[in-house]
Symmetry: C2
Subunit: 508 residues, 2 copies
């Protein structure tokens, strides 16, 4: 159950993460403090294995008596939420009874949806409304048009063997030009073409780290990346993004102090970040934080895997985006992961890594062993698309924005008590439910033909039971039908989850 | 240098593998025996870590005096070719001086061509003649025609998200039907579509074994598979295929006794076999051996990864092939790997795994983490191709056969002393040179613009220096030019290699 330690957080950081005291707080002060700490863990604001400040420091930081802090820690320890060892302070943990409760709706165990829900339904009849995956339909006629253009280029390629482990030169150049045009000068030898963005991620993960290495992740983060980290036997080291109090604030939810401290103290081999319309929160990292994290990575010798999958689909009218993290890099510190799967179509399996040529060469060698090379026609289509991408990306951005507006309005109408993020791009709303019943809701939703991904899937520790990610990429009618079905079962799911989690001391 | 032990071979097997005594043999009998054993290792007929029979058994088996065997073993031990430990008999090894000789042309070290030569020349000007990769050009107009058919199907798919981690249902069914039509009844849920055959192999390798597990391989075998095994930190356990004496005999070079004994004694987790037009020898496994190996795998709890990449391109007029190994399986013992990359075109990245649905589900889960899904258009093209594959496969088979005839005739003309295999299908000749200079030849060939893969790339131990794989898939003019360039530099390469390997006792 327990992971190796993550960073010890300061009293100031902990105070910030706990948020304001609940005005409705009742009972002794120490119970209220214990409750706030537990809630922060359940919401994902605090990583499960965070080291807590000393009683003395926290008392000073919160301006309360040391006796209150000591009593709160003692209660948490008795309930199994805190691990204290002489000389090494106190660390948060999940109580064993939580894991042992088995069928509990709030245990945070996977409910078997598989990665992003894709695998649970190999024999899907198409009746389900799949709100577990974000994937826009392709623009009408686009793939056909790209195929026609690519076919014209084919004869020169079909006469050859068809292998190109780095990607076709014409596509590497087109991707490099796409970066250069956006203000980040890039040459073709800095690009490795992959079979989608996840392929780019796993290649870098496998080649640049070894089992047992620590990989810093945002919490919440992209579940498939998290699954790949665990499957590769690397250790995910979460840094929390803010919780419900700040869910509407999508411009600066990264705590640069905490991230820098975590990198300094744990020296992760890799860090996986999604600075542009973060998955699932939709947040956008500001320029100062980007710069700060690249500096911290340099100091801790960490390689940053920066996922820019959604960068190309900001909503129309959005102000200019902060510079790409790669622009703060002096060479080999940042690997940028890109893809057409999210911004254009998931059925077009074209992704890439941008990095220093020496690193690209390493990744290409690994790639060549894994699947040799990518499909030629597909790469030619992507090269044509990237030669003139603006109209297509604009069209997809508008569809994303329309979907976001529709879903936001629908939820405000039928579930005004659900707090939702206000993204300026990307494909998801991040929803804070009024209680920890996301897993139970996902389970019940399955029974009414809706697939959703509950909060615990977005972190390594089984927390975030009060959260839900809802993509807005489905056609309007299906989207509305899907959330109405969810709404219809939500109250019962909340009640069921409440009964199942009726363990003394947990949710006081 | 040393690997963990492989099987101890019997005196009868060793006698068979040593081949007949050289009629020109000179010097004392014990030196001749030592020489024959060393040559068998250098040629790859004996795995480097084979355990030798006792002196007494070998003396009986070869009908020579035990004193001669004892003296030969003693010489080999003194020269560093044999490791003897009380109670555990004698095992072959490579002498340390061999590794320590560093720049030696016969050291068997990789010369940096990278996997299959694909990576050494990312900036290839196209002037090189690449005889390191076997890849036919696509049939004229085929890819265009398939693209046109696939585009007609697109609208139904482009409206969806595009993800299908198991492969598009229409393609899974087409692949299943392809097996069923060939006599091996198969359902769609037994098929996972992958990005080519190597992707199928690495998925199975990663998912069905863990680092440190033994993977039995043929020696020689497909270099990229071997590289992937080592990159994944599995231990390749070679079983030798016969050497030069039998190079023309391409129907039964597998030693079923040795393979069964190796599986029994080492219980490898996986075994990778290429029974149909083996890469690189071109050999075809007979029915009895197939049946025997599946039985042995059942007994040792080994999963067989059977690569049928070349099965669909037997030369015209070849008699019926033995049944697929999967037809002897009772369920979960055999995973069959297939691909269109070799039989149709390398630029069409469509491969697959056929196996029990429970195993396919596991592989799909792993695949979903690694690269999510395959490209839609490409899969639709493959489905159309497999709906009526006969004309295309016949055309490619004829081109393979024509290439084989041309290359065989050309070599007989300019290098009659090179022994060549006589394959009935596949894409390669396996060439036995008149001496151990393959690595030096590859090095010199690079300088004259020809890429070839020397024997040591096909095994884990740096042996097979007297062998060379030559594909016959290049266009006729380039093929002829390539081998003429090779021939022109061969004598000098042999002389250079001879000087470099002038280490007392090695090549007496």
């Amino acid at each position: 159950m327990m992971q190796k330690s993550t960073a010890r957080i300061s009293a100031a950081t902990l105070a910030r993460r706990l948020g304001p005291e609940s005005p409705a707080g009742t009972g002794p002060a120490y119970r209220q403090l214990a409750h706030r700490i537990r809630s922060a863990v359940l919401d994902g604001r605090l990583a499960v294995t965070s080291g807590l400040p000393s009683e003395r420091d926290l008392a000073v930081g919160l301006r309360i008596s040391r006796t209150t802090v000591a009593a709160a820690y003692s209660l948490l320890r008795d309930e199994g939420w805190l691990d204290s060892r002489r000389g090494s302070g106190s660390r948060l943990r999940l109580p064993d009874s939580r894991g042992a409760s088995g069928a509990s709706g709030t245990s945070g165990a996977s409910i078997g949806l598989g990665p992003a829900g894709l695998l649970g339904y190999p024999g899907s009849t198409g009746d389900e409304i799949d709100l577990s995956v974000a994937s826009l339909p392709a623009p009408a006629g686009l793939i056909e048009q790209l195929a026609a253009l690519a076919v014209e280029d084919l004869p020169a390629y079909a006469a050859g063997g068809g292998y190109a482990p780095f990607g076709l030169p014409v596509l590497r150049q087109a991707i490099a030009d796409h970066y250069s045009a956006a203000g980040l000068p890039t040459k073709a030898d800095q690009i490795l073409v992959t079979s989608g963005g996840q392929h780019a991620f796993t290649l870098a993960l496998q080649e640049l780290s070894v089992p047992g290495d620590r990989v810093m992740i945002e919490c919440p983060t992209y579940p498939v990346a998290l699954d790949a980290i665990r499957a590769a036997r690397r250790i995910p080291g979460p840094v929390g993004l803010p919780g419900p109090g700040q869910i509407g604030d999508t411009t600066a939810p990264w705590d640069a102090d905490l991230i820098a401290a975590t990198m300094r103290q744990t020296a992760p081999r890799l860090a996986y970040l999604i600075p542009d319309f973060q998955n699932p929160t939709g947040a956008l990292m500001d320029e100062a934080t980007r710069r700060r994290i690249v500096d911290a990575a340099r100091a801790s010798n960490t390689i940053l895997l920066v996922d820019e999958t959604f960068r190309d689909v900001p909503f129309p009218g959005h102000p200019a985006l902060p510079p790409r993290m790669g622009s703060f890099d002096d060479g080999q510190r940042v690997l940028t992961l890109g893809s057409l799967s999210k911004s254009v179509w998931g059925g077009l399996r074209i992704g890439w890594v941008r990095g220093a040529p020496a690193v690209i060469n390493r990744l290409a060698a690994a790639r060549s062993l894994a699947d040799m090379s990518g499909p030629v026609l597909e790469q030619l289509m992507a090269a044509h698309l990237l030669a003139d991408p603006v109209a297509v990306l604009d069209q997809q951005s508008r569809r994303m924005a329309d979907g976001a507006a529709l879903l936001t309005a629908e939820l405000a109408d039928i579930r005004p008590e659900w707090q939702v993020s206000r993204p300026q791009g990307g494909a998801f709303l991040w929803v804070a439910l009024p209680g920890p019943f996301a897993t139970e809701l996902a389970r019940a939703a399955h029974a009414v033909g809706v697939l959703i991904t509950p909060g615990p899937r977005f972190g390594p520790d089984g927390t975030m039971e009060s959260y839900l990610r809802l993509p807005f990429t489905e056609p309007a009618d299906r989207l509305v039908t899907g959330v109405r079905r969810l709404s219809a079962i939500a109250d019962r799911a909340a009640a069921t989850a409440g009964r199942l989690s009726d363990v003394p001391g947990w949710l006081t």
